[in-house]
Symmetry: C2
Subunit: 344 residues, 2 copies
Amino acid sequence: MSEQLGLGRRYMATVGELGERALIELMLRHFTPMPGMPVPFWDDVMAISLGDGRAAVLNTDMLVWKTDIPQGMTYYQAARKAVVMNFSDLGAKGVRPQAFLASLGIPRDLTARAVEEMARGFEAGARKYGGYIIGGDTNEAADIIISGVAYGVIDENKIVKRESAKPGDILATTGLFGDTTAAFKILLEGYQAPRRLRDSLLESVYMPTARIEEGVALSESGSISASIDSSDGLAISLHDLHRSSGVGFRVETLPISPRAKAFAELHNLNPGDLALYGGEEYELVFTLKPNQLEAANDALKSVGCELIELGITLADPRIVLVEEGVEKPIGKGGWEHFKTGEHL
Amino acid sequence: MSEQLGLGRRYMATVGELGERALIELMLRHFTPMPGMPVPFWDDVMAISLGDGRAAVLNTDMLVWKTDIPQGMTYYQAARKAVVMNFSDLGAKGVRPQAFLASLGIPRDLTARAVEEMARGFEAGARKYGGYIIGGDTNEAADIIISGVAYGVIDENKIVKRESAKPGDILATTGLFGDTTAAFKILLEGYQAPRRLRDSLLESVYMPTARIEEGVALSESGSISASIDSSDGLAISLHDLHRSSGVGFRVETLPISPRAKAFAELHNLNPGDLALYGGEEYELVFTLKPNQLEAANDALKSVGCELIELGITLADPRIVLVEEGVEKPIGKGGWEHFKTGEHL
């Protein structure tokens, strides 16, 4: 009887009550896994073996105008971002994106000009990273929907998964965090900032960039053990790496952008929170054996990027930030669909 | 000045005024074509060369609940159909679908049970044709959006394109038409039918099937010159084959389903119109040299299907139906997004 009640409660629960991750777990139970999948579920991308040592790698991500597009973002920028965010997941696995497909939902009363601006945004996003728009699909919808698909090919043994982080590995990243969190505070919560600071913060949201060359260079160097793209925020990225590989993390240095620091100072916010609990940043968060540090550094330098050490990978599952010698737990705050209450 | 006016008018035009095809044309002008694309724009699928004689083949199609899901269709059926319609385009090119990705837009207040039913529908659609659900993405949206991606691999020289129909080729198909058109008249226009007829007509819309084995067998036999899936309706499919290959068609026999005939008789409708101007049927419409008729027939028989001759391919661009010795033009009626006024 109690089991029946439990089942009933789960079935009647809404998507909003469950949240995105529980929802995906529920769906996955119904899928027969493809034999020989080169990448397990719960990684950044999907992959299919090509039978000759290579894998075709795919990723799909949707932008829904009403939910995902902040005020002030243009059609061009939204379409460009759809490419960047889909390509970013491939880059995090070491895969160079070759092609992008755009499946669009469009309201009848949208102007042709708006659609042309989106076309220019797709093209700009794809060409920036050497990829091509190879087609898509248009559909009538009440809201603008941009569902993108990124495609690339890689040697199976060069795919950098989430699951292979090992205790003792160095935890590192490709850039500084906090700008987008500050920008969303301006856009969604009415925070103010001087014009120039405001503009450069908003730019991080309107014109994001992905770490494609960086991911490919790291993968080709063979120097890193695991990787994830930070688009759900730094904190969630660490929890996701933990989920897939079982390890924990001790973060010793938070790479906070100077702009986020300035914004935090203005509003008496904790700059570390801005860096940890944001999202829509497309940095790579990765792990590597200490003896690979120079190789990974060289790989990133060869494409004009600096490796930033964050901390160390732990055998036990705690995920903590060390501040003045004291460990503080890093929560799961950050971007999750349906669970907007969890946002910073 | 007049040109400026023209430009202004085009820019201010809405998507609803332009229609889907004009809209896609507008977008394509902004895309750099990928070098060596194995399939041109305006075919059923997109393809990327794998560099070893094979191509990765992709298709993406979106279902928007409010616009695309008829009354009475369940979550299970809608999800299953999303797979069938995406796989069908691959089948029409001779490609066996291996994998499906589901990108979902979901309202917060949808029940978890509904999402589980969709998961079961995805699984059923994929497994029916030997494919696997390899992942996807969930997003918050005001309406249910199912954006699907189908993936498969084929030898490049086995891809059956739209552009290669030749004058003198026989025009043929894999099945009978008209059921879905009748079903949409019941669902959207309030037409009546006796219970048993009604149920079997609605089944054609709720539980469509794709011609995957048929397409693969035809491609492997090397017996056909061009092919398209009939999901936009038989008439539009002929116009699309014309658009890509330049040829025209003389249809001498319309393959009308007995159920569509019975429905037409009940309501004093033209059964030929039901067969021509419908959509959401997933037959293959293809062309072949007359001396390949036996080979194509054998290929289809080997997978339990019958080849149905429709007519002949013409050098000039007319697309006509011969009735009692008189040629009547076949119009462009059928399914096009945004242009619902063009529907039958």
